[in-house]
């Protein structure tokens, strides 16, 4: 039986790798094959035909697209991401510190969002049909239906304009004390927590409700077990797999949120770097950032699938 699990997980990993390859080609060809001569753009005013031709040669832009793609891919794997078009600095240097920043933001958010979502999701499934459940459901539907920047603006309106607790816009560059760090992190983390946990609450609630509808949960009810006991003792252990799956899947929504949140709060992370790179059409930088995000997304969704496989007791 163990073998079956391993082969399933192996298969899933193989699919992830193939997906990564397809994604990388999509990212590369979406940016590399489109109109606009990169060399001419780079040279700007100084773009004489000879200079453009020289630069094209130096940058290997005249090579066949497939060859350039291969070279780019090998670069990605060996850690050679190339240099930024905008300022010529190695992309690795540009991304380094910012990557840590984004990870910090995502990590802190996860720390808050997961317990919150678990608590609200499980309790609202327990109290299904009550006013509490309806309020939670309505709020999550509302949160899912509005754009991330609206969650951010609402958070600013509530916490800094109306209540005056937090600064409206944060800059993480000159943080000196722990207190300041908290204040800088507060708004982005609050916003992201709202965005991510709405999904998590819905999926957690759905997972628990589904197990509550099973015959063994009904059996527990019939033999007179109390409601909390049915949920915590009978339903929850079986719902753990789907819940963990839901958590990993919801965390992939962090990526979409992080792009908006880093921009709105001027947070120095990879997403902000990427949005800025779009303004300067710095393609190598955009491609690398895009691959980082796709990789993160893929790791999370693959993790979700693997958790689902591991949690299935029939396969153990």
């Amino acid at each position: 039986m163990k073998k079956q699990v391993l082969s399933l997980i192996g298969g899933r990993l193989a699919i992830a790798l193939i997906t990564l390859l397809i994604v990388s080609s999509a990212v590369f060809f979406a940016t590399a094959l489109l109109p606009g001569d990169t060399a001419a753009i780079l040279l700007g005013q100084a773009a004489t035909p000879e200079a453009v031709a020289g630069l094209r040669k130096a940058m290997h832009l005249d090579d066949p697209a497939l060859l350039r793609y291969g070279r780019w891919l090998i670069g990605l794997f060996t850690g050679d991401f190339g240099a930024s078009y905008a300022n010529g600095r190695p992309i690795l240097d540009l991304i380094g510190g910012r990557f840590i920043n984004t990870l910090k933001l995502a990590g802190v958010t996860t720390l808050f969002a997961v317990p919150l979502a678990l608590f609200l999701g499980i309790t609202s499934a327990m109290l299904r049909g009550t006013l509490y459940d309806r309020v939670v459901t309505l709020c999550t539907i509302g949160l899912i239906s509005i754009p991330e920047f609206m969650v951010a603006t609402t958070a600013v309106l509530v916490f800094s304009v109306t209540l005056g607790w937090l600064p409206a816009l944060a800059y993480a560059n000159d943080v000196k004390s722990f207190g300041e760090l908290l204040r800088v992190f507060a708004m982005p983390v609050i916003t992201l927590t709202f965005v991510v946990s709405a999904q998590m609450i819905r999926m957690t609630r759905a997972a628990v409700v589904e197990t509550l509808n099973t015959p063994y949960a009904e059996m527990a009810l019939l033999k007179g077990a109390s409601r909390p006991r049915i949920v915590l003792r009978h339903a929850l252990p079986n719902a753990l797999g789907p819940i963990a799956n839901a958590m990993a899947l919801s965390l992939s929504y962090l990526l979409g949120g992080v792009i908006i949140v880093e921009t709105i709060f001027n947070y120095p992370g990879v997403a902000k770097l990427m949005v800025d790179a779009v303004a300067t059409r710095d393609l190598p930088l955009i491609q690398t950032c895009a691959m980082i995000f796709c990789l993160g997304f893929l790791i999370l969704t693959t993790l979700a699938d693997i958790v689902a496989i591991l949690a299935n007791p029939r396969l153990r």
């Binding site: 109109p35 509005i146 920047f149 999926m203 759905a206 409700v209 779009v278």
Partner: protein, 290 residues
């Protein structure tokens, strides 16, 4: 946001079945009327706006709500009410165009994959699943960075982003229909794929597909607003609701109506579509659940 959350709010078992019919319940009616309101506004906006959209009508920028300017003025002193009403054209229009494109393509491919099966099915499914694992906003960023932003680019990009989800949904439904006897009968009497798709499969998955189109419309509105908010969507001098929030974000610190009302407009549109879909008439919902 292409992983659909299972709608698992079971209606109370004791609830009496409504008379068979296509009647909406109250929440559904509210959702439908808000949606219709924005649809009508999108069409008639140029004739009802109180001031020309681009005109600076008040030198008090980011002004409050007054009798003259119902929703205040923006960062240049332009009338917000007029801009919100005109913004409906861009937000609703672009989203509707691209979601229609995405769903017609996705559903067609999905039905073809389900009916033909074999290598074509595998190839399409694998490829589109892979496309699905590019986060939507990211793909938008990359494309806009490469080609620049214009209305056709926006519509096409967002259509491409939502084809995989639509494909997967339609294929799953079509696979079920495909095994039914009437399809087998049609196939045995020698009908070709186009006939099977249009006359046998499509009529039987139309209800759920339309509901799915509604959900995907919400995603598209959110994506468009997000892109516009980042400055990559609708470009000035035109503005959809997301772009309006971006323009006036400077007024956020003192709670200017210029930031709030475009946000409210987006929320009313997306929430009303969600409410409508959650409260579709029984007849349509029965099919959606199948």
């Amino acid at each position: 946001m292409t992983h659909s959350v299972p709608e698992s709010v079971p209606r109370p078992a004791a609830a009496p079945r409504r008379k068979p019919g296509y009647r909406f319940n109250l929440v559904g009616i509210i959702g439908l009327s808000v949606l219709l309101f924005w649809a009508v506004i999108a069409v008639i906006a140029p004739w009802v706006i109180p001031y020309p959209v681009g005109e600076i009508v008040d030198y008090d920028a980011l002004g409050p709500m007054t009798a003259k300017f119902w929703l205040g003025t923006d960062y240049l002193g332009r009338d917000i009410l007029s801009r919100v009403l005109m913004g409906a054209r861009y937000t609703v229009g672009i989203s509707l165009a691209s979601v229609t494109l995405a769903c017609s393509l996705g559903v067609t491919l999905g039905m073809i994959a389900a009916v033909s099966g074999g290598w074509l099915d595998t190839l399409l499914s694998r490829f589109l699943d892979a496309m699905n694992s590019i986060p939507s906003k990211l793909f938008g960023l990359v494309v806009v960075a490469a080609v620049g932003s214009s209305l056709p680019v926006l519509v096409l990009t967002m259509a491409v982003i939502y084809v995989p989800g639509s494909f997967r949904f339609a294929r799953a439904l079509a696979v079920n229909i495909n095994t039914m006897d009437f399809v087998t009968a049609a196939r045995i009497r020698g009908e070709r794929t186009p006939y099977l798709i249009l006359s046998e499969i499509l009529p039987n998955i139309l209800g759920p597909v339309l509901a799915d189109l509604g959900l995907r419309f919400v995603f598209t509105v959110l994506l468009l607003s997000g892109l516009s908010f980042l400055g990559l969507g609708v470009q000035p001098p035109y503005a959809d609701w997301g772009a309006m929030v971006r323009e006036n974000i400077g007024g956020l610190a003192f709670g200017a109506p210029a930031v709030i009302f475009p946000c409210v407009a987006i929320a009313t549109l997306t929430i009303s579509v969600n409410l409508l879909i959650d409260n579709l008439p029984q007849k349509i919902r029965d099919r959606s659940d199948a």
